[in-house]
Subunit: 419 residues, 2 copies
Amino acid sequence: MAQHNAFYAQSGGVTAVINASACGVIEACRRHSDRIGKVYAGHNGIIGALTEDLIDVSQESDEAIAALRHTPAGAFGSCRYKLKDIETHRAQYERLIEVFRAHDIRYFFYNGGGDSADTCLKVSQLSETMGYPLTAIHVPKTVDNDLPITDNSPGFGSVAKYIATSTLEASLDIASMCATSTKVFVLEVMGRHAGWIAAAGALAGRGEGEPPHLVIFPEVAFDRAAVMARVEASVQEYGYCVIVVSEGARYEDGTFLADSGNTDAFGHRQLGGVAPTLAGMIKQDLGYKYHWAVADYLQRAARHLASKTDVEQAYAVGEKAVELALDGQNAKMPAIKRTADAPYDWTVEAAPLAEVANREKFMPRDFIREDGFGITEECRRYLAPLIQGEDFPPFEGGLPKVARLALHKVERKLPTFEI
Amino acid sequence: MAQHNAFYAQSGGVTAVINASACGVIEACRRHSDRIGKVYAGHNGIIGALTEDLIDVSQESDEAIAALRHTPAGAFGSCRYKLKDIETHRAQYERLIEVFRAHDIRYFFYNGGGDSADTCLKVSQLSETMGYPLTAIHVPKTVDNDLPITDNSPGFGSVAKYIATSTLEASLDIASMCATSTKVFVLEVMGRHAGWIAAAGALAGRGEGEPPHLVIFPEVAFDRAAVMARVEASVQEYGYCVIVVSEGARYEDGTFLADSGNTDAFGHRQLGGVAPTLAGMIKQDLGYKYHWAVADYLQRAARHLASKTDVEQAYAVGEKAVELALDGQNAKMPAIKRTADAPYDWTVEAAPLAEVANREKFMPRDFIREDGFGITEECRRYLAPLIQGEDFPPFEGGLPKVARLALHKVERKLPTFEI
């Protein structure tokens, strides 16, 4: 069969395992060298395609590509950039076709979350609406776990494991100190719209009184009096109180607890600082000494504590993406399907991208406890398998060893293009 | 020889490996059962001794004690409580003697930092000034690495490994994102008076331009203009800037950055936290999009990423403490002595407690780079061995397995005592 080249790029907020998906895509492409020639990685996502800023992955050794599996973040650079509609921004799509044609690219793999699925869906229309023969596959990734159809999103299991572990460890710390010092510990976690990551913090405890004593979800309107009552009860009963709070925590009227006023490139509000805000309220209302932590990038970059399940799934969706592409299944996303809870089992199936793009999956209401401050057994059953297993990276000199790529740029063939 | 009981307690801020020292003390005591009867742990440090709130460690299984080696924080409860002088607070010392006599305690092991060394030193005077036959040994512990005489403090190596690893991982994250999104990442680390932990962040990078691009030490007066110039240069040259900042960062006049009443770019009063304060300044002065993290308790509780060197040293000083006590060496502290840099080697020697208590070890000026924003090769040579080796805890259900102690209380024999 004819041999053509492939394009792979990373988009949106990176994760501890997005490079494991890159590894899955690239290794699968190398196994199909009869049909896939070179893999060109877009430097900084779709921008690399638009600006013809391509990395020649064929120059990377097998060892370097294998090392991607244990390297966090996006080795080829990611971007926050969403393609506009074909109708209004036809020039961008024509440019993509020019670039793809110039480099004989017929396979397009886009590794990202909801916004990136939308971009991938638009690119997938090139073949139908503009006649360029391209197969576009979206490779799912997001720590937010908010992609629909797939049972969970690669990237989430590792951040969940990190947050559950950190909550457990910090809880032991404050439990040691509470007799004469800190009474309240607040850990702020990611998850702007959905409380999946906050829910993972609840995995740290199980029995009555085990921390965290409160989880504050974006799905449940923040009620200061109710939260304070619960904090006070926890300190009275257990001597201390551990709180996991989502960055997306908000009041009834939708105002975020900590709205910094910044917006990112997609126009989303940039949040930060819920933990100090909430800690300040607790000091003000109850007078307790507090500590707070904001994990921020640490949580989504923590490859050193990745979930083995997550690493395997991230690799598997990358590998499956190539199979789907070679099978000519345009506009698809490999989705994880849970086939059993205990012991946990899963498989990867193709989902239509049109059903994925621009849809967010929220926590089911029955995953949040009646009182709004914890998770239900059903939620625990869903979450627990996703943090299973360890997949420690190799260490060198006391630090995790990461892939060092050559990142050879492909020679440009076209005039420059302003985006 | 006569058999007497031992007292062991934990004091001050806990660490990822203070329980490894507890394990070292208790296991060594068990090996010397001919001379040491029971080990009584003070519940919440010295307060447990004063209030006769004792835990009977003999009720714990060998397995539970062994598990302390991989359990973070203080299993017996810690305290922030410093004994006053014997001259002015004689009643407290008489009470200690009463409690020790009632429970036949002749060995006293106190596991803590500088303030705790002072308490231990005061207790050690019981035998000389008040005639009660007690041998008191201080077991060193502090994430701040500010104890004198000992080459390094158990607890520091693990927080150093955690901060170096987290800096490395988060740097890969922002490097992926900087083309279209976040340009500056600020990580706030512990170390109110000494920049040891901040210095450890610098281990993440080595070559020219490798992050972190700035380390901000408490030892170097904060100069806003100089910092901003460096941040801008880093973003211009590398596309992004990673900053590790000590919570103790301060202006020339000694005012802490976090206490300086700063407002962020939007006029909001900062609620505390050097990282958000500094990030706000950067936004205001340079306009860059930022992310910030405050590791807080996460860094010192992160047993999942402990340094193997640190775990071994923490255990060794606990074990040595018992040997010194049995040798009748009152008022001593087992100190770590570095015998070689490469390959790193160390031994444990007895140091006089009087030379340890109430003295802080600061970073030598020649450990900080001339420009004040990084570490020297000498500092790197000192720090590098301390983060060597991994000692992952066992995991169960995706989470670190921790010691579950029975914590049987010893029956009280004395009237209550108000502290």
